[in-house]
Symmetry: C2
Subunit: 429 residues, 2 copies
């Protein structure tokens, strides 16, 4: 199978002719092939939402769908809805909707649990499939829960895997015959830097290691081709670019060639070959279903399903092109509007190397972000000094970017961020 690098063939229009005025931005929105998508979302008034990489906006259809699930399927159908409303197949049904976004077959993806729990299951399964290999390689500084899960595995699993943490650029050389698994987050949660999935996967597999990707910041944000790259496993999040709602269930992908040998450690009735036989001994289901454990979170799963419907007619190459244009427009506008404000780009300047987000370092980042939020521009802050802006291409437009940077410029010009109200730190996700 040829390894198709997924981000190469759409270079041309990304950096040319980006809007620099309000009029140009509006004109660009008017001819945006994704412009009708925005109407499918509820965007709060007077808000420019650049945090869809943390929690996606609510699709308008979701409110009605959840009323139906709660007030009809639960309230009226009660226990019968496991069959009559097909709750029982939600993990498979939602998984099949995620599959085309990540280059997977419909029966290779299940929606279940949280990203962290799924990572525990799959990373453990990977180590158990690689007898005689003990190392798990990952990088420092990426989304911390991924590392915590691997640290917990190293602390608890019978195989006693050894966790090796190396900077991204040293990983390829470090993969050896003792490496069971390489685990990386595809898009860096802080900087938005994109790993070369095809190249790294190829290096891992050439050495006999398995390759597991966390797609939390890439699924729904750019085209991903797991099978095309020959990857082995992946996990990802439902509440960011997939617009599944707060704490939506996550997903797990395993390449079909591994399904038969898979043995994840958290055995539960939803993963049993015959869940309703209620037999005493665990017999894993065939195929991927053994990855399931407990009862499906029906409310969250139904919201996620509704969010995914909005991707049904989206050309991911078009989405990627718009995403690259939005991020590039944002970088150029900030540097043009606030050249001496002390911002230092924390994201790759090359749009081919970036996910759908832009981050800047600034020593006053926390207060600046609070001032922005106060003015209706919602991004987020990541310690110690990063302000982060996510451009969800389904509902963020070129005018949004223009206006957001104008407000940022205003805040910097007049030192609004110096207001003591903005300097008090709270927990922020």
């Amino acid at each position: 199978m040829p390894c198709k690098p997924e981000q190469k063939n759409i270079k041309e229009p990304t950096v040319t002719a980006l809007p620099t005025t309000l009029e140009e931005a509006r004109a660009r929105d008017a001819r945006d092939p994704l412009r009708t998508s925005r109407d499918q979302f509820h965007i709060p008034a007077d808000t420019i939402y650049l945090d869809g990489n943390s929690l996606g906006c609510m699709p308008k259809a979701t409110a009605a769908r959840l009323r139906q699930v709660v007030e009809q399927e639960w309230a009226e159908g009660l226990i019968r809805s496991w069959n009559d409303a097909d709750w029982i197949n939600l993990p498979q049904r939602v998984g099949a909707r995620i599959a085309p976004l990540i280059g997977a077959e419909p029966d290779e993806v299940l929606m279940t649990d949280s990203t962290s729990i799924n990572l525990y299951k799959l990373a453990a399964a990977a180590v158990r499939m690689q007898p005689g290999r003990r190392r798990i390689i990952t990088e420092p500084g990426n989304f911390p829960t991924d590392r915590y899960i691997l640290q917990g595995l190293a602390d608890s699993l019978q195989e006693q895997p050894e966790l090796v943490t190396l900077p991204a650029e040293q990983i390829a050389d470090a993969i050896d015959e003792d490496t069971a698994l390489v685990m990386l987050t595809h898009v860096h949660y802080k900087s938005g830097r994109l790993h070369d999935m095809a190249a790294i996967t190829q290096q891992a597999r050439a050495c006999g290691a398995l390759m597991l990707w966390d797609l939390s910041h890439s699924a729904g944000a750019l085209p991903v081709d797991l099978n095309g790259c020959g990857a082995d496993m992946a996990v990802g999040c439902g509440y960011k670019y997939l617009n599944g709602g707060p704490g939506a269930p996550a997903f797990a992908w395993v390449a079909k060639r591994h399904h038969e040998r898979l043995n994840q450690p958290i055995w539960g009735w939803f993963g049993h070959a015959s869940p309703f036989a209620m037999s005493d001994d665990y017999v894993p289901a065939e195929g991927l279903r053994q990855v399931l454990t407990g009862t499906t979170a029906v409310l969250g799963a139904s919201a996620l399903e509704t969010g995914l419907v909005l991707f049904a007619d989206i050309d991911m190459a078009v989405l990627r092109r718009k995403s690259q244009q939005l991020t590039q427009q944002f970088i150029e506008a900030v540097e043009r509007r606030c050249p001496k404000a002390g911002f230092e780009l924390a994201s790759p300047r090359d749009p081919e190397m970036r996910g759908s987000q832009v981050s800047f370092h600034h020593p006053e980042g926390y207060a600046i972000m609070q001032a922005l939020i106060d003015r209706g521009v919602i991004g987020d802050f990541r310690a110690p000094d990063i302000i982060r802006f996510g451009m969800a291409p389904l509902y963020v437009g070129f005018e949004d970017i223009h206006n957001a940077v104008e407000i940022l410029g205003d805040i910097m010009d007049y030192r609004h961020w110096d207001d003591p109200r903005y300097r008090q730190r709270n927990a922020v996700t």
Copy 2:
């Protein structure tokens, strides 16, 4: 601390003067101290719902609350709602509402994940707290996912625990100095048999073993006194008697004396001492919060919180008395109405030994249950031959029981269950 057996001091009114006619049943409902609770629930028309032990009815307040969470907190508040709507503290807040129902302190209970995932975490932590002890003792034939989880642990954990399965009556004698953990489901999911929590816990602890209870079929159905009994750990379900909705999050309880030594293996950012510091190395939070892993399922958690509000003013001794009366009325009515229909009681006859459910064996159990459901009496079937009826005391009344048994009698008299439509088996939860 004295060990208070929780089901002893309410014997008197349980078996006397139960209604045997429709008029008596209605009169009993009229003077039921819990009668106003029923009005807080949506009960579908023409339905007698005796399956609240599988999926509780929808509290009327939940529909409105979920609209608020979805259409305001998510749609309008977006990422800000983690602070502004206090999503961040849902595990603790909902846990504190569960605490009084199970004899726990408010800071000893967290709502998170599924029952199965929580059992994996706590059983693993228990084994890791007991160096030199390798056995986990449990019983056969109880809710299977509990056994599957323990089997998965035995298959994966560094300590290589050995799972020993013994009939309930042999467990006390088998607990020895090699026993790390005794894990039992308090109320048997099929028969409704209630374990003597105080006695078994005492036996386990006398031998230095830890005691972990699954309260899925008891939390909200009868008074539980974990601390009074000196238990160590517990898990339980949010979607049965707690009325949290389909696939609601579950809960985990750990006695405070163990919090400091706890080390569950699925390390995630919500369990980190400083989740938003995003540091590379896992440092468990103080107290019970280290049991958390991933992002809270906000929709399910909010529904569960609303369901729990209905317990705020409930006297659990009163609830237990009504539950025992309902189950006793049901048993006596079935035996009076259908003496020769072939039903064999599968539940304990002594109401002190029963949870809030009644089961009968019948070789045609599957078809009989389908016929009942067709007539609006919803219970469930458990292989190979058990029909099961749950009496959720907050919304099931004495008239319901009377009418359900009349319909059952009719079905048996006229062999409605012989209808070929009722003989086709589907997946049913």
